[in-house]
Symmetry: C2
Subunit: 202 residues, 2 copies
């Protein structure tokens, strides 16, 4: 019972903290605000997580894993074609981003501000460069640095969500039209990426 309650409180704090950190960033999020929204005493936050820094580190590591755990099995699946991989990546990632639209901008910004938290990612280079996807891209178009395609694909997926605050603020399009656009992109991005891969003018 005590354990259940403990886990409960601890988790509530963590999820509220995740929400606030993601929305406002590390510096603009205060322990007092986390405690207030979690409806617990300030001291409890430090009681369960030792420090603001440690709480943030835990959340960053979880978010980071969440971001990459989705793509790893896809890009390394030896039994799928390049087209299938791209289709799967686009579909899964856009679904994921629609659930957590603020995650990319938050992560990219915090990584910029505190590159120390990125010790985890020394393996990233290996993960990407040795992936099955990377090899298939090289086969398909040996003339161009495959990182171009990775950037293009990731950019097409992520960029609309990074621009979302600008879009809302400038009232460029409303939220329904935005989601409609994302749905269209699920169909279109694989086509576009294929066009780019097959471009003979390079």
């Amino acid at each position: 019972m005590a354990l259940a309650k403990k886990e409960d409180t601890q988790n509530k704090i963590k999820e509220i903290a995740r929400k606030l950190f993601t929305r406002f960033g590390y510096s603009s999020t205060t322990i007092r605000e986390i405690a207030k929204e979690s409806q617990v005493n300030i001291a409890l936050v430090n009681y369960y997580f030792r420090s603001k820094d440690n709480l943030f580190r835990i959340i960053m590591e979880e978010s980071f894993e969440q971001l990459f755990i989705q793509i790893d099995p896809i890009i390394n699946n030896k039994n799928t074609t390049l087209e299938e991989k791209i289709q799967s990546l686009v579909s899964n990632y856009l679904d994921f981003l629609q659930k957590f639209p603020e995650l990319p901008l938050f992560m990219l910004n915090e990584i910029k501000n505190k590159p120390k938290h990125l010790v985890i990612k020394i393996s990233l280079k290996k993960k990407v460069s040795q992936s099955s996807l990377m090899h298939q891209i090289k086969e398909r178009n040996p003339y161009i640095n495959p990182l171009h395609f990775i950037f293009n694909l990731l950019g097409m997926l992520v960029f609309p969500f990074i621009m979302k605050p600008v879009i809302s603020s400038a009232k460029l399009i409303n939220i329904d039209d935005f989601n409609q656009m994302i749905s269209e992109r699920k169909r279109l991005i694989p086509i576009w990426i294929n066009d780019i891969l097959e471009s003979k003018k390079t």
Copy 2:
């Protein structure tokens, strides 16, 4: 003479502030740090700019203008073809971003955190939707929402710079290879955008 000195100090503070705000964001930049790097007394910052908030507002407005002043004459030039516009946009914007690589992530993040600063941009919708570029895109491919192309073009241009901290941190590629990639993209992005515009599978 007094005027010159005043302008001098004032400008020094502003440029240091711009550098720090751009690198660390609003919350993580302190007036004391700005004063220290500018080699002036803390009170001088408030003497010239009244408040941290006001100083930040001025810098944001200038940066914002800087970002859009470049594209406005290009996308609204009635005497250039769509191809020429795209070529010019890509070339100018990549040059600009290589000079100020941290600007996009900074701006996007601050816009997310404080959408109040975006009063300036109510005109953005008009600017984009009534632009000559937009009309030419619609002519070229009437079947797809032109915002897709805007997102793709902007994403291809900006996304590598937004990813730069991740790239450095994960040591995916070194800085020389990064700049080499950007140079390649000056040539490639217009080709890719053209491929996408001509895609008949949509």
